[in-house]
Amino acid sequence: MSAPAAIPLGTLLAPRVLATRNAFRRRPLRAWALAFLTGAFWVGSFLLFAHTLRFFQTITALGPVLTQRLLVMLFVSFFAILVISNVVTALTTYYLSPDVRFLLAAPVTRRRIHVARFIETLGASSWMVLLFGFPVFLAYGTVFHAGPLYYGAVIATLIPFLIIPAALGVMLTTVLVLAFPARRMRDVLVVASVALVAVGYLALRLARPERLASPSELAGFAAFLAAFEAPASPYLPTTWAANVLLPFLGAKTAEPLFHFALLASTAAVLAIGCTAFVERVFLTAWSCAQEGREGPGRERRLGHWLGRIASPMPHTTALLFVKDATIFFRDASQWSQLLLLLALVVVYVYNFSALPIDDGSPLAGTLREIVAFANLGLAAFVTASVAVRFVFPAISLEGRSWWALRTAPIPLASIWWGKFWLGFLPLAVLGELLIVVTGRLLSVAPGLTAVFMATLLLVVAAIVSLGLAFGAAYPRVDTQNAAQIATGFGGLIYMVTCLGLITAVIALEAWPVSRIFWSRFASQPINGGETAAIAISFSAVTALTMTAWALGRRSALKSLKHLHV
C-alpha cells in the first residue's frame, strides 16, 4: 500500500488565514481604524528617524559611525524582541493550541505539522517587527538616497533575519516544555512578556524620546550613541544584517554578499536543525505539555487568606470577592496586568515630579494649582484606563460559568454590587493616592485637594458602573484573557464614554476652581452670587456622575438579565 499524499501546507495554514480574513470582514470599521493607526504610526516613525539620521549626517566626523551604530542597535533590539516573541508564540502554536490534537490524529506527518506551525509562529511573532521596521528602513533609504538594490537587500536580509530567532525560539520552547510543565511555563512567559512591556514602557518614558525633536537634546543623544558600545561582534546575525545593508547606504565598506551568505546559511542550518529536532521530540513534548497539575498547598493558603480579608463584607459580596480574587491571583494573564499598572503609576508620578514649575513665585503657586486641576482629569483618565483592564472584563470573565451564578438564588443586583465594590474600592484607593501624592508634589492647598478627592470619588463610582454596563453589553466569553477582552469594540466605546464624562466634569468644575484660585492669588473675595454659582457647579458634577452611575447600573442589570452564555 502506498503512503498517502502529503497534505498541502495551504490546508494546514488555512484555519488561521481564514479566521484572520473573517475577523476583518466582520469588522470592517476596525480594519480601517487599524489601517489608519498603522499609517499614522508609519508616518510618525518615518519622520522621527529621518530627522535623526539627517542630523547625524551633519556631524561630519562621527556621522557614519552613528548611522552604523544606530542600525546595529535596531537589529539587536529587533532580534531580542523576536526571540522572546517566538518563544511565547511557539508555546501556544505548538503545545497549547487545542487544534494540535486534531493534527496529531490526522494523517499528517510531524514534519508537515512542524513546518505549518513554524510558519504560523514566524508570522505571528514577526509582524510587529516588520511593522516597526518598515518606516525605519525607508527612512535610511530616503536619507541616504539609496537605490533599488538597497530595498532588495532589505527584503533579502529580513527573510533569514526573521527565520533565525524563530528557529531558536521554537527549539528553546520545546526544550523548556520537555523540562517544565507547560501551564507553569505559560504563566512564567506571560508574566515575563508583560514585565518586558512594563519595563520597556518605563525605559521609553523615563528616557523622554520627545527630547529628540529638539536639536540640543538630539546632540546629547548622538554623544550617547557615540559612546555606546553596541554589541557588534562579527559572530552575531545582527552584525551580519547591518553589514549587508550599510554598504548600500554608503555608510560603511563591507562585503554585503559575504555577510548575506553568513546570514542565509545560518538561517538554513537552524531551520533544518529545528525541523529535525522538533520532528524527533514533538510527540513527547506535546504529551508533556498536557500535564500541568498544581500542588495542593498553595491553593489552600490563598483561599484562607482571602476569606479573612472578605469576612467583614456582606455575604454575597464576600463570596464573589473570594472567588474573583482567587481566580485573579491564579491567572497570570490577569495579575500580570498589575505590573503594567505599576509602570503607569511610576511614570505618572515621575512626570509630575519633573514638571519645571517650582521657582517659588506666587504665579508658580497658581500654576501648580492649575496643573493640579488638570491632574484631576488625568487621574480620572488613569483610573478609566485601569478600569478598562480590570472592571470591563469582570462580566466576560464569568464566561461560560455564568450559569452557576445565574441559577443560584441571589438577585442580579447582588451580583452587580459584588462586582461594583470589587472594582470601586481598589480604583478609588488608586485614584485618591494619585491625587494626594501628586498634590503633595505640587504643594496644592489641602482644601482644593479635598475637593479634587471628592470629585474623583464620584467619577470613579461612575466609571466602575459604566465599566460593568459596557462589559455586560459587550461580553466576550470566548476568551479568558482579560487583556484581550479589553481590546474589543466594547472596551473602545467604554473608554470614549469615560473620556466624555471626565471632560464634562472638568468643564463643569473649571470655572469654580479657577474662581477659587483667583480669590487666593489676587485676593478677590468670592461674593454671595459666586458662592451660589460654585455650589451649583459642584452639584451639577454630583448630579452628572450619579446619573452616569445609575444609568450604568440600570443598563448592566438589563444586559445581565439577557446575558445568555
Binding site: L319, W403, L405, A408, I410, K561
Partner: protein
Amino acid sequence: MIQCIALRKQYGELVAVHDLDVEIEPGEVFGFLGPNGAGKTTTIRMMVGLLEPSGGQVLLGGHDLATKPEAAKALLGYVPDQPFLYDKLTAKEFLRFIGGLYRVDRQDIADRSVDLLEEFGLVDRAEELIETFSHGMKQRLALAAALIHRPRILILDEPMVGMDPQGALALRQLLGGLSASGVTIFLSTHSLGVAEELCDRIGILDHGRMVAQGTLAELRLRASEFPELSGSEDSLESVFLSLTGTEGRRA
C-alpha cells in the same frame, strides 16, 4: 413540584419552544427526550432561569420563577449539558462558593463537600485546580455542586455525557435514591435505556412541541397509533422513533 404553563421561546420568526405544558409531582423522575435541536436545552434553560421565556410561566415548588426567582431557585439544583466551571478554583473551593450562594452553613458545606466528593470519587482531587480535570470529572463535580444545598428539585441536562460506565451507574443509583427521598428530578437524556430504567414519566419533544408525555406504557399505546412506523417492537427506542417521525424521515 415543577410546572411549565404554556412555556414558549421565540427567536424572531423561529419558535424554538411551542407553548409547553408540563407538570411533575414531588419525588417523580421525568425523562425529557427528543432529537438534536428539538428544544430540550432551551426549555431547560428557561426552567432554571438562564433564559427568559417569550411567554408562559415556570413554577418551581409553587414559586413563579419570573416573579420570585430567589425563592424558586433556592429549591433547585441544576447540572448543565456542558459543565463549564471556574478553572482556576479547586474542587473544594468551587463547592464552598456554590454552597455559599445557596446560603448553606459553612460547617455544613465542609461536611457535605467531603461526603459528595467521596461519593463522586473526587476526594483525592479535592485540592486540585478544576482546569486539570477531565470532562467526566467536571461533570461529577457539577453534580456534587448541584446537590450541596440538598435541593428539592434536580434538573439535569444530559448528565451521562462524558461519564465512564462506573460513573453512569453510580449516577443512576444516586438518582434512584434521591427520587425515593422525595427529590423531583427532571432529566434530559439521549440514553433511552436510562430513561426506561429511571423515569416514572417521559416527555418527548420534537421541533419545540411536546409530541407525547406519559408513562412508558402510555407512550407505547400512543405509538401504536402509528403501526407503519413503530413495527412490532415495543421498546422506548421504537416508541421514540415513531413519535418523532425519525423512521418516517429516514424512509
